[in-house]
């Protein structure tokens, strides 16, 4: 019950993409990221100005301290001015110092809030854009991408970017301002001591470059391993009941431990590097200070320098090294963010292959004639088409653009040799269902029945041929309009977190409570709903754990009926898990529904198709027989064989 269809829900696969591990700075990505900040450009300018002010208020105190020493204390101690004069100067400078401290705190807080605001808003925009984009991606995309991976994009990856905006980019600007400011102040105070200080620069640059290389590699291998650990965890938790039923806890744990140990080992390198880098920079700073005091002491003894200036330098050095000390952390933030943004943009660049053309027609009134005009379809090709755009991507050449649409099959796209001849799920399928007619699609598993339903709803686009609704290519019609006229009940009933009622009406507020009840009654779902503690208000969870598969299916029926009883009802073997009694009741409801509606029913239980006008028999992707039940039985072909087997399953086994 805790298991859901699909291969492990989140899949051991999503470290695939997590292996994209970019540089700490990528101009192309950065430009694109900046686009999301652009709406807040005004605020960003304010934040940068505040940052400049902040840097100035940061550098000012050591310089005021210099004047306190040189203008107030030293002369007073030496007796060049009276103690009273000294104290007055001290008082004035002290007030100035205090004012600057207050300004520094205020500006820092304001700047921090502003940055957080811009970061959160910009990432909100990106998150919504991403979510919106995902909503309109074709199903083939979701076939390829496990839910867990998409979740990581929309939560963790975007968080990494938020982190970058607030901690990475802004603090880097701040660091640049501080470093520049400190250097200018040093040169202005005393260019000789400035040169002594700057001698440390090559050492710092060398150390940084060396450790950056180590850390880049470490962080990369950590991220790959972390992704593996989490992918495995996700899959194990999704399939936990299988693990338990098959007593694989020990084995699963052992494998997990291997991955976990691997991650720990990968971390070891980074921890060691970090534990060396910071002390090394600290040591550089201490040596620079020592050199400063040596040179400064000499100059003071020589009468060329004041004590205040030397002390100002000493304090400025502290400020000079501070940004460098947390460089590694920033580097990590930036690198993570670049990798995240690359993955996010890759998602955003995934083409909406199933998209509305600019000239999409509105579909107001539908009679309901459905035509398959020499349709060829392959899930594999659809999946390849739904890959992100990239110049070397061979899928580009097969993407179905409007200009490629024609009645003539295009040359078959390049496929893996093993795929040849195997990946067409529908081959030259050609039939017409007239308005109001009910048709059953019959065939063995894998014959392509589900594909027919998915194609009519335009979950996928056909690769060759066309599907026409009332004579119009469905690719020329707005998807929203198309689907509004199609009620679909799918094979896997899906229950949203919410109430029973909200699962029937979904988000459509125009569906009244009465209509919800009527729909439930219509499909005989009201029986079990009435037995639930809160009836229609009963809260159900995402996996509908309280409900049996049959109940979920009844809900899905009710949804289809409440929602869209208008034109076309398409059913996809949805009756297979419902008990005979309920199935019978549903069939009654269906018979009522099918009246006057174009209906396509898919059922491998032949018993469910006795009411239809016509039967289309699919075999290995081809339409092999079309006719009524009796005609087809008389033909003694595939249908007859399927039928006989069905009969045998009921009688002779």
């Amino acid at each position: 019950m805790a298991m859901h269809g699909g291969h492990g829900g989140g899949g051991g696969g999503f470290f695939h993409e997590d292996e994209i591990l970019g540089k700490a700075y990528d101009a192309r990505l950065m430009r694109r990221l900046l686009r999301y900040v652009r709406p807040y450009a005004g605020l960003v300018v304010v934040a940068l100005v505040l940052l400049l002010v902040l840097s100035a208020t940061q550098i000012a105190p050591p310089i005021i301290a210099k004047f306190i020493i040189d203008q107030a204390i030293t002369p007073a101690v030496a007796g060049r001015i009276t103690p009273a004069e000294g104290l007055t100067t001290l008082g004035i400078l002290g007030m100035l110092y205090l004012a600057i401290l207050a300004a520094n705190a205020g500006v820092r807080y304001g700047q921090g809030l502003l940055t957080a605001y811009v970061g959160q808003r910009a990432m909100y925009d990106l998150r919504i854009e991403l979510f919106r984009h995902l909503q309109f991606l074709p199903l083939s995309f979701f076939d390829r991408n496990p839910v867990g991976r998409l979740m990581t994009r929309i939560t963790n990856d975007i968080d990494a970017l938020t982190e970058m905006v607030s901690r990475g980019v802004v603090s880097i600007f701040g660091d640049v301002f501080i470093l520049t400011g400190v250097m200018i102040a040093m040169i202005l105070l005393d260019h000789r001591l400035a040169i002594v200080t700057f001698l440390a620069l090559p050492v710092v640059i060398g150390l940084t470059a060396y450790f950056r290389g180590i850390m880049r590699d470490s962080f990369r291998s950590i991220r790959i391993r972390l992704a593996r650990v989490n992918a495995y965890l996700n899959e194990t938790l999704s399939g936990i009941s299988v693990v338990q039923l098959f007593t694989r806890e020990g084995e699963t744990f052992k494998r997990f431990d291997d991955l976990n140990v691997d991650l720990y080992r990968a971390n070891e390198g980074a921890v060691r590097a970090m534990s060396t880098f910071q002390p090394a920079i600290n040591l550089t700073r201490a040596v620079t200070s020592a050199a400063l005091f040596l040179a400064g002491g000499y100059l003071i003894l020589d009468g060329q320098l004041t004590i205040g200036t030397l002390l100002a330098f000493w304090q400025l050095i502290e400020q000079f090294f501070r940004p460098i000390l947390d460089l590694a952390e920033k580097y990590n933030v930036m690198q993570a963010a670049m990798a995240s943004s690359e993955r996010i943009f890759r998602l955003l660049d995934t083409p909406r292959t199933v998209a509305d053309p600019p000239t999409a027609l509105e579909l107001r009134h539908v009679r309901g004639e459905v035509t398959f005009d020499h349709v060829w379809f392959s899930y594999q090709i659809a999946a390849r088409e739904a890959m992100p755009r990239s110049s070397e991507d061979p899928a580009l050449q097969v993407r179905a653009g409007p200009q490629e649409r024609s009645d003539h099959p295009r040359a078959r796209p390049q496929a893996e040799p093993t795929d040849i001849g195997r990946d067409w799920i529908l081959k030259d399928v050609d039939f017409t269902i007239s308005a109001g007619e009910s048709v059953a699609i019959v065939g063995a598993t894998g014959a392509g029945k589900t594909a027919i339903i998915s194609l009519i709803s335009r979950f996928y686009d056909v690769q060759r041929g066309r599907i026409l609704l009332d004579g119009v290519d469905i690719r020329d019609v707005k998807q929203h309009d198309l689907r509004r006229h199609i009620g679909v009940v799918l094979q896997d009933p899906f229950i949203f977190a919410g109430t029973i009622a909200s699962n029937i009406r979904l988000n459509d507020a125009t569906i009244s409570d009465e209509r919800v009840r009527a729909a439930a009654h219509f499909v005989n779902a009201d029986k079990f709903i009435d037995r639930l503690p809160e009836r229609y208000g009963t809260v159900v969870t995402e996996r509908g754990s309280m409900l049996s598969v049959g109940q979920k299916q009844l809900l899905a029926f009710a949804r289809a009926i409440a929602f869209n009883p208008e034109i076309l009802l398409v059913l996809d073997e949805a009756t297979s898990s419902v008990d005979t009694e309920t199935e019978h009741l549903i069939q009654d409801a269906l018979a009522k529904l099918m009246r006057g509606r174009t209906s396509i029913v898919i059922a491998h239980r032949l018993s469910t198709i006795q009411n239809v006008d016509r039967i289309v028999v699919l075999h290995k992707g081809r339409v092999v027989e079309v006719g009524t039940h009796r005609e087809l039985l008389a033909e003694r072909g595939v249908y007859h064989r399927l039928y006989e087997l069905q009969y045998r399953a009921h009688q002779a086994v």
Partner: protein
């Protein structure tokens, strides 16, 4: 054992006591060394004021370098020990969490969202690790620097020390006030993050429905509403969190200013040399790290603690279904019995007073309307749930008295909804088998499940990766893999919970026929909707609203002329309607078709031999 976040915290802390102790000593020693250079600086300033010889200054500067070098080496090693211990703790916690979660019963996972669990296992675990690593490291550095600096400051001037440290009480009160709010806001933010993840997960999982009903726009709106709230809470957190650093650096600044001012007056008055004043300022700079770090530390500990509480919730969850204290270690033959079993999910009663016995080697079928409790009934046998009333017995012993491992080994279970893992097909089929599955048994299981023909089409046959990195299986292929998986385990009891719903009827018939051969000496319990699937069972139970309303063999139930007979007649009627005039001929054909013997059985380790070998 682990009853509170506090005891959990110390439990993991103790795990690396040696590493932490060594790390602490080194970090403390480094802090002590750090208080030496200010003395040298003060001495240099006084020397130049006194116009002492340059050599004295050079000596002091050289001393600074030596001390700094020592400090760097010691601090680097200390830091490594502490951080490394936090990585080890993270590793252990992650393992412990998985082990614990693996022991949780199915009901737990029905309540817990996987997205939320994953959020705890990733984000919260990171926050906890940072608490153990940087949190502890910074606490050590802060405390030692604080103590040593203040001691050194007191040596220079008690008065200046007291004046400059006036800011301390103000600082701690500020933190206490801000910290509490930060913690609360952080928890609120995390909760909203969970909601955001859940919304996204639900949407992506149900994308077909979203598309089929053109629900994209309403879904975006609903996601945006949750996202808005998330951003609001993030900014709310930032309002308080952002106070910490500015407040800290302001207070340090004030301390330096007070020192310069009061110390300046003293220097002018001659009670203090300029060198001493500078030495004092240098100590304040040393102190500035602990004070700035203090904000960070509170942050790390608050977020880490909030996360630890969330992890503690996972640890606290009671497995509910656990091994007995006095386990019955006896091989299972396969007699299954239920005595007056009742079961409810919360307030919804699903099973009422169910009793039955299946002798070892017997077969039981369960039919009944949707929601009548069939799945729950079979879930009780391998203890996916425990009965709330009554007893479930195997070989006369309550299932709760068997070690879980023994019990579940004996049961082959094919669930209603299939879950396969992203591993090669071979491993999926051999999932329940201790060692690597021998080829002959793999092929035999695949044959029983009618998976063998499909396998020929897979690129690497049994070594084909399943799932996203390999082949995507159809619903029927998935179910058949699940059947092969259950059969390969060679179970004493096989349970099929409506496990053939995605398999076409022809294949279903083939599978059932083969299973009958396999299950000849084993107990089988089959949940199904079709009479044809169940009619040969030794006993058939008809469930309705959690109660057994009818029981018996196919024939006796038909005679009884109740719900079962009604179901049967309805199905028969449907068939007859379809069959029409051709019925007679079909029946004749069917009778003529000989039933092939399907007695493929693998080598049974327990039986020490092969009764009938695979072909």
């Amino acid at each position: 054992m682990r009853s509170s976040p506090r005891s959990t915290f110390f439990h993991y802390l103790r795990g690396h006591a040696t590493k932490l102790l060594v790390g602490s000593v080194l970090v403390t020693a480094a802090s002590l060394l750090a208080t030496i250079p200010p003395r040298f600086i003060g001495a240099i300033v006084d020397d130049v004021t006194r116009r002492a010889p340059f050599s004295a200054i050079a000596l002091l500067a050289g001393g600074m370098v030596v001390v700094a070098l020592l400090e760097a080496v010691i601090r680097g090693n200390g830091r490594y020990q502490v951080i490394d211990s936090s990585r080890l703790t993270e590793y252990e916690m992650r393992n412990d969490l998985l082990a614990h979660l693996q022991s949780m019963h199915l009901g737990y996972f029905q309540r817990q969202r996987i997205g939320d669990l994953m959020a705890r296992l990733t984000n919260d675990l990171t926050a906890v690790r940072q608490m153990y690593g940087f949190g502890i490291l910074m606490t050590l550095m802060t405390m030692s620097l604080l103590v040593f600096s203040i001691a050194a400051m007191l040596q220079v001037s008690v008065k200046l020390t007291l004046i400059s440290l006036l800011v301390m009480p103000v600082a701690s009160m500020t933190f206490w006030a801000i910290g509490r709010r930060v913690q609360r806001k952080f928890q609120q933010l995390q909760a909203q993050f969970g909601d955001l993840s859940t919304k996204a997960q639900e949407n992506f999982s149900g994308i077909r429905v979203v598309k089929a009903y053109s629900q994209e726009e309403p879904e975006i709106a609903s996601f945006a509403a949750i996202d808005q709230e998330y951003v609001r809470r993030a900014l709310d957190l930032a309002k308080f969190n952002g106070l910490i650093w500015p407040a800290m650096s302001f207070m340090i600044g004030v301390a330096v200013l007070l020192t310069l001012y009061v110390g300046g007056i003293d220097a002018i008055g001659g009670q203090l040399t300029i060198g001493q004043l500078i030495q004092f300022v240098a100590y304040l700079y040393l102190l500035s790290f602990p004070m700035i770090a203090f904000g960070e530390i509170t942050n790390i500990f608050q977020q880490g603690w909030a996360s630890l509480i969330r992890l503690q919730e996972l640890f606290d969850a009671d497995p509910a279904i656990a091994d007995p204290i006095d386990p019955v270690e006896r091989p299972i033959r396969g007699e299954v019995e239920m005595r007056n079993v009742s079961f409810a999910y919360g307030n919804t009663v699903v099973l009422r007073d169910v009793s039955f016995t299946v002798p070892a080697g017997g077969s039981l079928a369960v039919v009944g309307p949707t929601g009548s409790g069939k799945s729950t009934l079979v879930n009780l046998i391998p203890r996916l749930f425990d009965a709330q009333q009554g007893e479930v017995l195997i070989d006369g012993v309550n299932v709760q008295r068997y070690p879980l491992r023994l019990l579940r080994r004996a049961v082959g279970y094919v669930p209603q909804e299939t879950f396969l893992f992203s591993v090669p097909l071979r491993e999926n089929v051999g999932f329940g088998v201790e060692d690597a599955l021998p080829d002959e048994r793999l092929e035999w299981a695949s044959d029983v499940a009618q998976l063998n023909k499909d396998v020929e089409d897979f690129p690497a046959r049994y070594d084909t990766m399943i799932g996203e990195r390999g082949v995507t299986l159809s619903g029927g292929q998935k179910q058949r893999t699940a059947i092969a998986r259950a059969v390969a385990k060679d179970p004493r009891i096989l349970i099929l919970d409506d496990a053939l719903s995605s398999v076409d009827t022809y294949t279903e018939a083939e599978i059932l026929r083969r299973l009958r051969g396999v299950m000849r000496e084993r107990t089988s319990i089959v949940v199904a909707h079709r009479i044809s699937t169940v009619k040969d069972a030794d006993e058939i139970l008809v469930l309705d609203d959690g109660r057994i309303v009818e029981r018996g063999t196919h024939l006796s139930l038909l005679e009884h002329n109740g719900l079962y007979a009604q179901m049967y007649r309805r199905q028969l009627l449907e068939e007859e309607l379809e069959v029409g005039e051709e019925q007679a001929e079909h029946e004749r054909r069917v009778r003529e078709t000989p039933v092939e013997p399907t007695a493929f059985r693998p080598r049974m380790p327990s039986e020490g031999g092969m009764s009938e070998g695979p072909p």
